[in-house]
């Protein structure tokens, strides 16, 4: 990047917030997605909305790509600066502006870490439910931009259900406000929803107003082991059919069970086809009643063994198996692809079986676990990215997994976003008309295509 531009950015945000050394640029050339890396020309960390506005105005004039970034923990290559340009680091936006308990809303800057925010609202007896696996590291802005979900999706929904308003800097530097604190608000297009999950391709989020819910007063965790996958699938459907919506309803397949047991020795039978982790939460009396019903349903659907946590220590033990799923799989091989192909709940057993067949067909190692209650599975492929022949097979397996998800009426991504990783499958899901509608929105808001170019809707 030319020196006069670097100098101009120094003027706008202060030289200490503009990184240009090769070493620093290297550290912003990747995110948590394997296989994508490219050096930016500069990393800029603005401190105010006005600074973001000025940086974008200049970048837009000069047609420099801009890649907004929080902690860079996403799994879709959403923050990798594939065309160089600017990494716009939003971590200095780290203030919780207001927790408004009367209106059950909070206004937060996008660089706040999700777990820190949740600790702050917990003091008011409140909860911000979206909880991706990276809550302890991810920024709120990143989770809003990726429309992150997590383990509570079935009962509580995902990010988009909690975002009430945004302050956004558009690609040309103009600043707009969308939504607000009102529960009912039908004025205008719903730009809040449009920008939530837009993966940084339309503008930069500089402020977020979120909905909060009362934190549940009690919870109860249960673990059920099934030697037959179909019975596990029937149990999942039967729990919901009995009008119980668990906060957590997780599944692990046989490959995951074996790996977890080998790694953590938590006492899972290695020939089990599925393990379900179920947690109900809410008012104590309701929790007890629902837990009893869940146990009844599990028994009726031939669970081979059921464990119920009597205290927090036992709860931790039950959760240990599920928590160990990703670390145990990741330790098998150097490279880990965590996918998030999602299907309607009733298709979960079909999807798990199909993934198993795909793994055998292409001779790749895949463990599947995930959020069975909302159909959001994580087929996790472990491999070595340095082995070209193996990567060829991994790629074919991935193609087949996503094709299967779509054929089962599912979607490419339940919570990680499209970014670059799943871009090539977008047309399979949306058709050319669907893609061009999205591209038209992109072009209308970002005519020079400077915002996270090449991602989500491809080149434009």
């Amino acid at each position: 990047m030319q020196n006069h531009l670097i100098e101009a950015f120094n003027q706008l945000v202060g030289a200490e917030h503009v990184l240009t050394s090769k070493e620093d640029l290297r550290c912003y050339s990747y995110d948590a997605t394997p296989g994508f890396s490219h050096m930016p020309d500069v990393v800029i960390a603005p401190g105010t909305t006005e600074e973001v506005s000025k940086v974008l105005a200049l970048a837009n004039n000069e047609k420099i790509p801009v890649y907004p970034r929080g902690s860079g923990t996403n799994l879709s290559a959403g923050t990798v600066p594939m065309q160089g340009g600017i990494v716009l680091l939003m971590t200095r936006f780290d203030k919780i502006i207001e927790i408004d308990a009367a209106n059950l809303v909070a206004t937060v800057e996008p660089g706040v870490i999700v777990a820190d925010f949740n600790n702050a609202v917990a003091q008011f007896g409140l909860l911000y439910p979206p909880d991706p696996g990276t809550v302890a590291t991810a920024t709120l802005g990143g989770t809003v931009s990726e429309n992150a979900g997590g383990l509570r999706g079935l009962k509580y929904g995902v990010s988009k259900h909690y975002i009430m308003g945004l302050e956004i800097v558009l690609a040309d530097g103009r600043i707009i406000q969308t939504g607000g604190k009102n529960v009912k608000d039908v004025a205008g297009y719903d730009l809040t929803k449009l920008f939530t999950g837009s993966e940084g391709t339309l503008g930069v989020i500089t402020k977020v107003t979120v909905k909060l819910v009362p934190a549940p007063e009690a919870s109860k965790a249960m673990l059920a082991i099934f030697s037959d996958l179909d019975n596990a699938g029937k149990a999942i459907s039967a729990i919901i059919a009995n009008k119980i919506i668990p906060a957590t309803l997780e599944i692990m397949d046989n490959a995951t069970i074996r790996t977890v047991e080998d790694y953590a020795k938590v006492g899972l039978p290695i020939d089990a086809e599925a393990v379900l982790l179920i947690e109900v939460d809410g008012i104590l009396a309701v929790v007890e009643k629902e837990a009893a019903k869940v146990i009844e349903v599990l028994q009726a659907n031939h669970a081979d063994a059921i464990q119920v946590a009597k205290d927090p220590a036992e709860r931790d033990k039950l959760w240990a198996a599920r928590r160990a799923a990703l670390p145990a799989l990741a330790k098998l091989r150097p490279t880990t692809f965590v996918e998030d192909a999602t299907v309607p709940r009733s298709k979960v057993p079909d999807m798990i079986r199909a993934v198993k067949q795909t793994a055998a067909k292409y001779n790749v190692t895949i463990g599947t676990f995930g959020h069975a209650g909302d159909g959001n599975l994580h087929p996790t492929i472990v491999c070595d990215i340095r082995d070209a022949a193996e990567m060829e097979r991994v790629q074919q397996a991935m193609d087949e997994i996503f094709a299967t998800a779509i054929s089962l009426g599912g979607t490419l991504s339940g919570e990680h976003g499209i970014g670059l990783g799943k871009l090539k499958y977008m047309e399979d899901q949306f058709g050319t008309a669907g893609i061009s509608a999205m591209q038209a929105i992109k072009k209308a808001l970002d005519p020079n295509c400077i915002m996270n170019p090449g991602k989500l809707v491809g080149e434009c």
């Binding site: 990184l19 050394s21 090769k22 070493e23 620093d24 290297r26 550290c27 912003y28 050339s29 990747y30 995110d31 948590a32 997605t33 394997p34 960390a45 902690s71 860079g72 923990t73 971590t91 200095r92 777990a115 990276t134 302890a136 590291t137 990703l326 670390p327 990741a330 330790k331 150097p334 490279t335 880990t336 070595d384 990215i385 340095r386």
Partner: protein
């Protein structure tokens, strides 16, 4: 591939195991302050990876980023892939030393450190003439500089060098009437030259428990500061010297009163000689009989509790990084405190979070060390304890500095000093 890269190639597999999830960001104390990706393990490993793939050089910038680590091991403990990033960063430093040489200041300090006699003399001089340079703070075992000194932030509160080092204050062997065992005490530099009070307390406590103690006079710095700076060859010189010295001592056990010093014997020495089977075997023999003092008192000696007097104080505990994640000793110091009548123990938030000292890190990066430590001080203050117990001289000094800087009243003591107080109180009553 040139030599520097060949050296790094040995860790290529370990580097490849980092899946760049970024979980290390949650726990890295330096990242918390700097919010810069090159401060956290993921970034540093990416830089090493870039050197390995030929996309980057071992530049001054590389060296600087590798240096920006307190070696608190929190990243390694957090890593879902089991990557020992702290060790890989040391390999990065080692590669930088091989490629670019040691930093001139470190070179000067280490050449002094290497010479045991000169090193001893300098620190004795510091003890004798220290009061000319350093002003004592009232009511504390602490001093501040009277005038600016190179490499030292003037705000910083240190501890005075002892007028007489511990090993000159006491006989080489301290006999007891009916010894049930004989231990060799590896004092470490901090306890020998600065915090002699910790060393005295340890000797008293072991005497109370009928343990004969010898302090091998030829013992020298454990070498950890050198090892952490990436000069592995020099670190081997220290390791070999101490191994020979403690083999000659021929004691039943070796004890240290510092997590890092104990870690040197227990973990570093066997590792440092990984490609030298004969030395490795000797190192492992010593490692097996080395204990940190709290661990030794609880697990081996089963320390006497029938003659403990009251110590009326509210006490909280800071777990040094190399106690918590190095030698993994956190229960035993708590067991000691809980055994003392009158002690009300209160746990602080994140007791095992780094205090920011990081050995020589705090000398080169005082501002960052101070910020990390301010968080520790805030956690201490919210316990309303009278005393912070810890098991590391370097932590004690840095926390004491933080308490003074933040105007907090707490005192910082080694766990064994509180036990010593309790034995003394037991005699008075």
């Amino acid at each position: 591939m040139n030599d520097d890269k060949q050296f790094l190639a040995k860790i290529e597999e370990d580097i490849a195991n980092c899946m760049k999830c970024g979980n290390c960001m949650e726990v890295c104390p330096i990242y918390k302050e700097l919010q810069n990706e090159s401060a956290v393990a993921r970034g540093k490993l990416a830089l090493i990876e870039a050197v390995l793939t030929g996309n980057a050089e071992i530049s001054q910038g590389f060296e600087k980023r590798m240096a920006m680590c307190v070696s608190c091991k929190a990243c390694a403990a957090k890593c879902p892939c089991g990557v020992k990033a702290d060790e890989l960063i040391l390999r990065g430093r080692e590669a930088a030393v091989k490629a670019r040489g040691l930093h001139p200041i470190k070179k000067a300090v280490f050449s002094l450190l290497k010479n045991r006699v000169m090193f001893d003399l300098s620190l004795r001089m510091a003890g004798l003439f220290g009061p000319l340079q350093m002003k004592k703070l009232p009511g504390r075992f602490a001093v501040v500089a009277r005038f600016p000194m190179p490499g030292l932030d003037r705000r910083r509160v240190l501890a005075p060098f002892a007028a007489t080092p511990l090993r000159s204050q006491v006989p080489e062997t301290i006999k007891v009437a009916n010894p049930k065992m004989k231990v060799a005490f590896f004092t470490g530099c901090t306890i020998n030259y600065v915090y002699t009070d910790i060393g005295q307390a340890l000797l008293n406590v072991l005497q109370e428990n009928d343990v004969e103690v010898t302090l091998p006079p030829m013992q020298h710095c454990c070498g950890t500061p050198v090892y952490m700076s990436g000069d592995t060859e020099l670190a081997k010189v220290f390791a070999r010297h101490n191994i020979e010295t403690f083999e000659r001592a021929d004691a039943d056990y070796i004890v240290a009163a510092c997590g890092s010093c104990a870690e040197a014997f227990k973990i570093e020495y066997p590792e440092i000689f990984h490609d030298d089977p004969a030395m490795r075997e000797r190192a492992e023999k010593l490692a097996a009989k080395t204990f940190e003092i709290s661990e030794f008192l609880v697990d081996v000696v089963k320390f006497r509790q029938d003659n403990l007097g009251e110590v009326n104080a509210t006490v909280t505990m800071h777990d040094p990084c190399h106690m918590a994640r190095g030698i993994k000793v956190t229960d035993q110091p708590r067991k000691i405190l809980n055994a003392i009548p009158g002690v009300k123990f209160v746990e602080m938030k994140n007791p095992d979070r780094c205090c920011g000292a990081g050995g020589s890190f705090s000398l080169a990066n005082y501002d960052i060390s101070r910020k990390i430590n301010d968080r520790k001080v805030a956690d201490i203050a919210s316990t309303h304890a009278d005393i912070v117990a810890t098991s590391c001289g370097s932590c004690r000094m840095h926390i004491n500095d933080g308490l003074v800087q933040n105007g907090k009243p707490q005192d910082v003591l080694h766990t064994v000093q509180l036990l010593d107080k309790a034995y003394k109180a037991g005699k008075q009553s």
